[in-house]
Amino acid sequence: MIQNQRAKRSWSARLVLLIPYLWLALFFLAPFLIVLKISLSQTAIAQPPYVPVLEWAAGWAGLKAFFAALSADNYAMLGSDWLYPVSYLKSLEVAALSTAILLAVGYPLAYGIARSPRRLQPVLVMLVILPFWTSFLIRVYAWINILQRDGLLNDVLLRLHIVDTPVAWLSSDTAIYIGMVYSYLPFMVLPLYAALEKMDESLLEAAADLGCPRGRAFWLVTLPLSLPGVAAGMLLCFIPIAGEFVIPDLLGGSQTVMIGQTLWMEFFANKDWPVASAIAVALLGLLLVPMLFYERMQQRSLEGGR
């Protein structure tokens, strides 16, 4: 009887564990396999706009024909046309530089919040999250307003006599970086704050007690202990920025094409689903590199570096 109950409980416990896997399989793995399949197809003027299409009715022969028709041509194409490598590199460049700026801006911000009086901290964290209350798209549009020729920024700069003629902020890389840093700042600040907030204040006292001035204690104690937060923040910013479409499209100029825009073009303008899918799969592969790096770092910190 008891045995039975225990077996039942463990069965239900297993079911609970199964749910996230089921979710991932259904909404991540299955769509990914579909995209992967399309990326190995060829474009066609048809509905859907690619071949081969799997014919279940043809049975075993149909399946064989389907696999025979798949090819990696699209991936070869990504390497042969300079447009794709250039967009990939541009995306990585924008993501890397944006993440660096985000870290430079976000770290002092998170540090300031973590060191402010306890009762003030929830309010400050709230202020960091507050922009999420408004639609992302609307906020990016608002930046167009600020950055345009007769916008708020030029207004202020002209009034203060910092510049004599309006600056063309919009449609430039600067505008992209402003948009990226503004939009992704909470993703950098929150993990950093979480890491800094749980740090024991007495560690800094111990450092001071052992002859380490406050400034040096930051580099020797605070920074090393916040590295997991730094890594998490960088990852949370780098990956979505690399695939960002809206910000470069609305704020950037035509000379800067990030991979998200190229993908959009292939899909909506050229109706080339297979190439668009290949771009997406290749991007995923590219972003797996920092992910794996982070995983390894986590693993090492769990096992303990010797």
Partner: protein
């Protein structure tokens, strides 16, 4: 004899640490007030008091983490109030140890020397020396989270000692250890202090710990110094009812001072006159449980003070039993009886009528 006693109980002519009229206020709250105290070179000194009495604040002021609101703190005759913590020749062992989780055991111990930019070879040598001192020679490469509580405590001790501080500050160093380990560690700490000759200042709320390890104890009450003396002095000759009650068990009988005796509602008891006590002053007779004798009959010796009562409660503690005896005025008096034989001698049961007795010199008269 009297001179030797005073020698032992003061910090000497040239104290290593001197608190002079130190006060510390946090907003409306006063943590330390009018605090004056000398600590001598090579002393094992304890700051003892209940939580919130200001003892930790005092230690933190000595380390430099808090600045006094008033008064001065002298180290070797020099005011150190303005000296930042990283320049003070004192080191602290923190209550939670505050070991750096991202550094190895050796890395933690070497931290202080690295700040002095000591050479690689010297650091390695002194770290090894410290590891040997705390009897953990093979633990240098371990991570902090791989250590037990007792091992962490040793690493914290080694880390604080490597810079050879003028004063080692210990903030509740044994609070996180279990009882058995605590007792062992206390003796190890005493041995270490004797060997190094370093001045140790320990903060504790545990009176047994303070009595065991310290040469002298400062008992603190609500931010003020209540009494400073050797452990036996504090126990045998407390200067107030508060100290008598805080240290160990005591029964206090209120009465009026007479010639060589004290008059209480329970009778007249012979006792030594307190210094500065005048006749008809309200005083209190402090009686320690282990100094009382319990018997079925009134003792024949007329020199002994004696008082009848009935056994109200018996607490068995293994090594001894504590009897609570109800007196004529319905107050309770505690008596300790050592359980010297396994069978127990003629012991008493609840509601038995007993006589408590003590020689005049066993009582201590308090004037406040």
């Amino acid at each position: 004899m009297a001179e030797a006693a005073t020698q032992e109980q003061t910090a000497g002519d040239r104290p290593l640490v001197r608190f002079a009229g130190v006060a510390k206020r946090f907003g409306q709250i006063t943590a330390v007030e009018e605090f004056t105290l000398d600590i001598g070179e090579g002393e094992f000194f304890a700051l003892l008091g209940p939580s919130g009495c200001g003892k930790t604040t005092l230690l933190r002021m000595l380390a430099g983490f808090e600045t006094p609101s008033a008064g001065s703190i002298l180290l070797d005759g020099e005011d150190i109030v303005a000296v930042p913590p990283h320049r003070r020749p004192v080191n602290m062992m923190f209550q939670n140890y505050a070991l750096f989780p991202h550094l190895s055991v050796a890395g933690n111990i070497a931290f202080g020397l690295r700040q002095e930019r000591a050479g690689r070879a010297e650091i390695a040598e002194r770290v090894a020396e410290m590891l040997a001192l705390v009897r953990m020679p093979d633990f240098g490469r371990r991570r902090i989270d791989q250590l037990s509580g007792g091992q962490r405590q040793r690493v914290a001790l080694a880390r604080a000692l490597i810079k050879r501080p003028r004063v080692l500050l210990l903030d509740e160093p044994m609070a996180a250890l279990d009882k058995k380990l605590r007792a062992e560690t206390q003796f190890e700490l005493m041995e270490l202090q004797r060997r190094l000759g370093t001045t140790f200042v320990i903060v504790t709320h545990d009176q047994d710990e303070a009595m065991t390890v310290a040469d002298r104890i400062a008992v603190m009450d609500r931010g003020r110094l209540a009494q400073v003396a050797a452990p036996s002095e504090i126990y045998e000759r407390p200067n107030s009812r508060w100290v008598a009650d805080f240290i160990g068990e005591v029964t206090l009988l209120e009465g009026m001072l007479a010639e060589g005796a004290i008059e209480t509602v329970l009778g007249r008891f012979r006792a030594a006159m307190p210094a500065g006590g005048r006749k008809r002053d309200t005083v209190w007779l402090a009686l320690r449980p282990e100094k009382l004798h319990i018997a079925a009959q009134r003792p024949a010796d007329g020199n002994l003070n004696a008082i009848p009562g009935t056994v109200f409660e018996i607490g068995y503690r293994g090594d001894m039993s504590i009897y609570k005896v109800r007196l004529a005025d319905r107050s309770l008096m505690k008596v300790a009886l050592a359980n010297t034989s396994a069978r127990g001698r003629a012991s008493f049961g609840i509601d038995d009528v007993v006589w408590l007795s003590w020689p005049p010199e066993a009582g201590w008269v308090l004037t406040r």
